[in-house]
Amino acid sequence: MVGLVVVSHSERAARGIVEVASEMGGNARIEAVGGDPDGGIGTSMNDIREAIEEAVAGPGDSDDTGGGDDGSDGGVVVLVDLGSAVMNTEIAIEEAAVGAEADVGVDVEIADAPVLEGAVSAAVEAAGPKATVESVVNAAVEAREYRKL
């Protein structure tokens, strides 16, 4: 199963986005993360890395780590809001790959997408049985094209 992580400068915003997305993609595994290392508005590389690791492992289903047995390729797709969320996520992915390979040995990608709309589309796709990291990223990116008016 492909996991999702929503990164926002505000932890409350990240949790709210996850609430909205979960309503549509009920089975998808989604982690919310936000706030700077002191809990203020901002982002924290360490917190993002932990969220990615949790999205890989999932709550209480370590059997499923890395996917494969359910027809998917595992992996994690990350939705981000502004500047430092992007850069801290990039470093978190590099760090996870280097420093914690045992925990994150799967593909982790950032989706270049609007954070809320992208999270909804990604959650719907990720809940599907044949979801891959690529298909989830594509679903998130396509959310850019949705017209509101």
């Binding site: 700077d36 290392p37 002191d38 203020g40 508005i41 901002g42 982002t43 924290s44 590389m45 360490n46 502004l82 500047g83 430092s84 850069m87 801290n88 990039e90 470093i91 760090e95």
Partner: protein
């Protein structure tokens, strides 16, 4: 530089001096950032370098390892965009310090730092970011060492001057990257906080180098960077500045 014990001691002193300076400038950086950003640069840098001092002191190994520990601490603790930009660039560039701190390795460090920062932040020069201070500093340092054959201390002095000019250069520009870019034209007329903190870091590196080398170098950001040779004597600043003429040798 000297033996690795002295090198380590000087490095730790430099990091402590930078941390002290950023603590002193916390309000100043926050004021700059509240004008065009999210008012967290002072607190973020202060928290990050506070952690960097501890991590550097407990880091084992050579200069390259100590500097890498600093980068790692900044990535973890700064938060905001400055964490990845400062910390990630320091971590990447620290590999260039294998074999100690010399004129050659510090030039390579500077170039790697700038390259990683541009790669990560995707900011060209003139976007009103820390790149506007780092680029002139790194270019001037490299040229001073490689072309002008200046001592590392003199070269660092010129690099600090160049960074100061870069900081001034950010004031009249419209921000194109970072949080300030959301302000559009309202960002014009404000000094960039990231470029400013870069200058503070460089000033403290210079002060520490002067302490350890028991020497000082002239600083004059208004001095002409080029030409340092003035054949027709038409450049009054160069003619009036004996240091500039001496350095032309």
């Amino acid at each position: 530089m000297a033996d690795s014990d002295t090198e380590r001691e000087a490095l730790l002193a430099a990091i402590a001096n930078v941390a002290d300076r950023l603590a002193d400038e916390k309000e100043h950086l926050t004021d700059l950032d509240s004008a065009i950003g999210d008012a967290d640069h002072g607190a973020n840098m202060n928290r990050g370098f506070g952690a960097a001092v501890e991590e550097a002191e407990s880091a084992e190994g050579e200069a390259t390892d100590v500097v890498k520990a600093v980068g790692r601490a900044l990535v973890s603790k700064v938060g905001g965009a400055s964490g990845p930009l400062y910390g990630g660039s320091i971590m990447a560039a620290s590999a260039e310090l294998e074999g100690g701190i010399t004129a050659e390795t510090t030039v390579a460090f500077g170039e790697a730092y700038l390259e990683k920062m541009q790669d990560r932040g995707d900011a060209p020069i003139g976007a009103k970011t820390m790149v506007d201070a780092v680029t002139p500093a790194v270019h001037t340092y490299k040229k001073s060492i490689e072309t002008d054959d200046l001592s590392p201390l003199e070269a660092l002095g010129k690099a600090v001057d160049a960074a100061e000019r870069g900081v001034d250069f950010t004031v009249p520009l419209r921000a194109k990257k970072g949080r300030a870019s959301y302000l559009g034209w309202r960002s014009v007329g404000h000094q960039d906080p990231g470029a400013t903190s870069t200058l503070f870091v460089l000033e403290e590196l210079l002060a520490t180098a002067e302490d350890y080398l028991d020497d000082e170098t002239e600083r004059d950001a208004a001095a002409p960077a080029e030409p340092d040779v003035d054949p027709d004597g038409t450049n009054p600043e160069a003619a009036d500045d004996p240091a500039a003429n001496e350095e032309a040798e």
